[in-house]
Amino acid sequence: MAVTARPEVISLAGGLPDTSTFPPDTFAAIAQRIAAESCAKALQYGPTEGLPETKGCIAQVMAAEGMHADPEDTIVTTGGQQVIDLVTKTLIDPGDIVIAEGPTYPGAVPVFCAYQADVVQIEMDAEGMRVDLLEETLDRLEREGRRPKFIYTVPSFQNPAGVTLSLPRRRRLVEVAHERELLVLEDNPYGLLRYEGEPPPPLYALDGGVYVMYLGTFSKVLSPGIRLGWVVAPPPVLEKINLGKQGADLCTSTLSQLMVQAWFEQARWQDYVDSLTELYRARRDTMLDALAEHFPPQAEWTRPAGGLFIWATLPDFIDTTDLLARALRDNVAFVPGAAAFLDGRGRSAMRLNFSGSNEESIREGIRRIGEVVTEQVELYGTLTGKQPARRAEPVPEPGGAEVVPMPTRSRRERRAR
C-alpha cells in the first residue's frame, strides 16, 4: 500500500470509477445465473480473441458512440491497459518513436519505457492535441530520417488533461494518418461519460478502421475490477497482438466475459452509464466550485466536459512532486504532473480525480490542497519580496469553449529550463 492509499488520506490521485453504485442484487443475480447456466464454461479457458458473446456486447458499446467494427477485427483483452502493452510490444523495437500527447496517460508511461520507446510528446491546448505541432514534428522527424511507429492519443476527456480533441482536429489527424500512412491508437475509455455538449465522432468512426486502432474498455461503463477491454485493429497488426496475448495470458477471464454478457442481457447497461454520468457530473461541478473557492489566483485548471480528471497548473516555482509531500502531511493526495511526461515537463501541474470521492471529500480535499498551494505562493512572495503575478485570464473561445486553455508553449518552455 502506498503512502497515498492510507485510509486517512483523501486521495484525488486515483483514476477510480465509483463502483459502490453498482447494485449488489444485480451482481448476485448475474453470478447466480452463471452458476446455474454456464458454470463449467465460466471456469474454463476461452479463445485468445475472446468469446463471441463478449464481442456482441462490445458491438453495442461501440454503436452507442457511432462505431461499427467487425467482430473478426476485435480481440477481447484483460483491461484496456493490456491493449497499450500489446500494441507497444507488437510495434516497438528499442529506440522506435511513439507520438503521444503532452501530458499523456501516466499509465502508458511505464509501458513505453519498458519497451524502450522514444516518446515524443505533442503539446495540447483547450482543443486537445495541437495537430499543427504534430505535423511540424512529423516533418522534423522525416528530415531526420525517423518514422514514428504509431500515435497514441486519448481524444475524449483526456487523461490527465481533461480536454477533448475538437472535430476539425480529429478530421485533420485522420487525414494526417492517411497521408503519411501512420497508425493511430485511439484510447477511448471515457467517451460515454459526457456531462455536457454534443460528442464529436471517435477517430475510428472518421477513419473506418484503416489506420486507427481502437482501444475500448468496460472499466468505466461497468467495472474496472472485471478487467475487460478490447482492441480493434487491422488484420496484420491483430495477428501479432493475438500472438502477444497468447504469450501474456492465453485468454481473457471467461468468468468476467460471461458476467458482462449476463449483465447486458439482464439490464439496460446504458441506464447504469446514465446514473454514473449524473453522479460524476455533480462531482465535477463540486470540484470546479471548490477550485474556484480555494485555489489562489495564480493557478489555472481545465474544465472537462466529461471523463474523470481535471488538470491544474500552478505557478512555475511550485514543484508538485515536492508539494505532494507537504499535502500528504495534511492527508490529501493528487498525481504530480511530472508523471504524465517523459521529458521533465509538467513539474508545476497536477492531476485531480473527481469520480472516486464523494462531494464532501472533494470539497475538503481541494480545500486542503488549496491551503498548501496558497501557503507556498505566500512563502515565495516573502522570499522574493514580491507577490507572483496572476496567471492571465483565459480568453473565451468563440462558440463557448468547454475548457480553459492549457498552459501556453512559452510558459512550458520557461518552466522546463
Binding site: A2, V3, R6, D316, F317, I318, D319, D322, L323, A325, R326, L328, Q376, L379, Y380, T382, L383, T384, G385
Partner: protein
C-alpha cells in the same frame, strides 16, 4: 530461538523503501531460525507489541518516525530492546542542521551551510539575508530539508533566481531547511557495523546529474564500486571521518555516513543515517558483502548487538 518483531512501513515518504528493507530482513531472520512477526507500523503499534511481547524489535523504517527517535522512544517505554541507535543519536543524526553544527564543533569537515526555519522567512524577514548567504556559499548552492532522507526535496540552485523556488520545495518536507555549499566530486558512503568501518562504497549515477530518489532505488540506475577505487590513504581517511561522526552523534550497532570527495582530494561529511536502507540496491549490505559479511550474517549481528545492549532480565 528469538522472537523478533520487524517494524516497517509507517507514514514516512520512504515507506516503500522501508517495506522492501523489512521484507529482506524478515527473510533473513527466518533463515536464521528466528520467530519473525512483521508489523506495518500504524495506530495499533503499541497494542501489537504488547500482544506479541517480542524479545527484540528490528526497526527497518526510514525517515520520519522510524529514524528520528520516535519509535525508539516508544520501545524504551515498553521496555523492548531494539536494533540500531538510541533515541538521542537518532535525534542528532536525523536533524542534519544539528548534526552539522556538532561536526563543526568537533572539527569534522562538513560543507559550509546556513540553516533557517520557515518562521525566519515569514516573520523575521530572513529573505533579506539571502544575498549575503549566496555571496558566502557561491553557486551552485544545495538546498535541502533538514530531516528528509533519500535525497527527497533536495534542489540545486544554480543562480540567485533559483533559490526561492528551491526553498519552497525544501519547506515542503520540513519547517527547517539548510543551504549548503555544493561539493563537486565523488559520492562516497562508509557504513559502520559494531563500531568498525566497512569498505568505502562509491555511487556513480548512470544518467542523472545527481543521486536522487529514483536513482537510489532502481536497479541499474546507479553503479556502485566497493571497495571504492581511491588514491592512497583516502579510503582510510574516509573511514576515520565516518567513525568519528558515528561516535560524535552517539550511534550504536550500525549506521551509514555519506561523504563527498572533491577534486583536491578533500573529504567532507554530508550526513549520517542511523537506519540506512537494507534493500537490494542499498549501500550498507553492499559494503558488508565486500567485507565478507553476507546479508543474513549482517542481520544476525544487528539483532545480537541489540540483545547484548539490552539490560539483563
Amino acid at each position: 530461538m528469538t522472537r523478533v518483531a520487524v517494524l516497517k512501513g509507517g507514514r514516512s515518504l520512504e515507506r516503500q523503501v522501508s517495506l522492501r528493507s523489512g521484507a529482506r530482513v524478515e527473510d533473513a531472520l527466518g533463515r536464521l531460525g528466528h520467530e519473525v512477526e512483521a508489523i506495518d507500523v500504524g495506530l495499533d503499534l503499541i497494542a501489537r507489541l504488547r500482544e506479541l511481547r517480542p524479545d527484540v524489535a528490528f526497526i527497518a523504517m526510514h525517515g520520519r518516525d522510524g529514524e528520528d527517535g520516535t519509535i525508539q522512544e516508544l520501545l524504551e517505554i515498553l521496555g523492548i530492546p531494539y536494533t540500531g541507535s538510541g533515541v538521542l543519536a537518532c535525534i542528532r543524526a536525523m536533524d542534519k542542521v544539528l548534526a552539522k553544527h556538532l561536526m563543526v564543533e568537533a572539527d569534522i569537515p562538513t560543507p559550509d551551510f546556513y540553516a533557517f526555519n520557515e518562521t525566519a522567512f515569514r516573520e523575521l524577514g530572513a529573505a533579506e539575508a539571502l544575498g549575503a548567504i549566496e555571496d558566502r556559499l557561491d553557486f551552485p548552492i544545495v538546498v535541502k530539508p533538514s530531516s528528509q532522507g533519500s535525497a527527497l526535496g533536495i534542489k540545486f540552485a544554480r543562480s540567485p533566481a533559483d533559490v526561492p523556488a528551491a526553498l519552497v520545495a525544501a519547506f515542503s518536507y520540513d519547517s527547517k531547511v539548510l543551504l549548503e555549499r555544493h561539493v563537486e566530486g565523488r559520492d562516497l558512503a562508509v557504513s559502520i557495523l559494531d563500531d568498525q568501518p566497512l569498505p568505502v562504497v562509491e555511487a556513480v549515477p548512470q544518467d542523472d546529474e545527481f543521486y536522487d530518489f529514483q536513482a537510489r532505488y532502481e536497479i541499474g540506475r546507479t553503479s556502485f564500486t566497493c571497495p571504492a577505487d581511491l588514491p592512497g590513504g583516502l579510503a582510510g581517511r574516509a573511514q576515520e571521518l565516518a567513525l568519528a561522526t558515528y561516535r560524535l552523534l552517539g550511534c550504536s550497532a550500525f549506521a551509514r555516513v555519506d561523504l563527498m570527495l572533491d577534486a583536491d582530494g578533500e573529504l567532507t561529511v554530508l550526513e549520517a543515517n542511523p537506519i540506512p536502507g537494507l534493500t537490494e540496491t542499498s549501500l550498507l549490505p553492499q559494503a558488508a558483502e565486500a567485507a565478507g559479511i553476507g546479508f543474513d550474517e549482517l542481520v544476525g549481528r544487528i539483532v545480537e548487538s541489540a540483545l547484548e545492549a539490552a539490560p539483563a532480565g
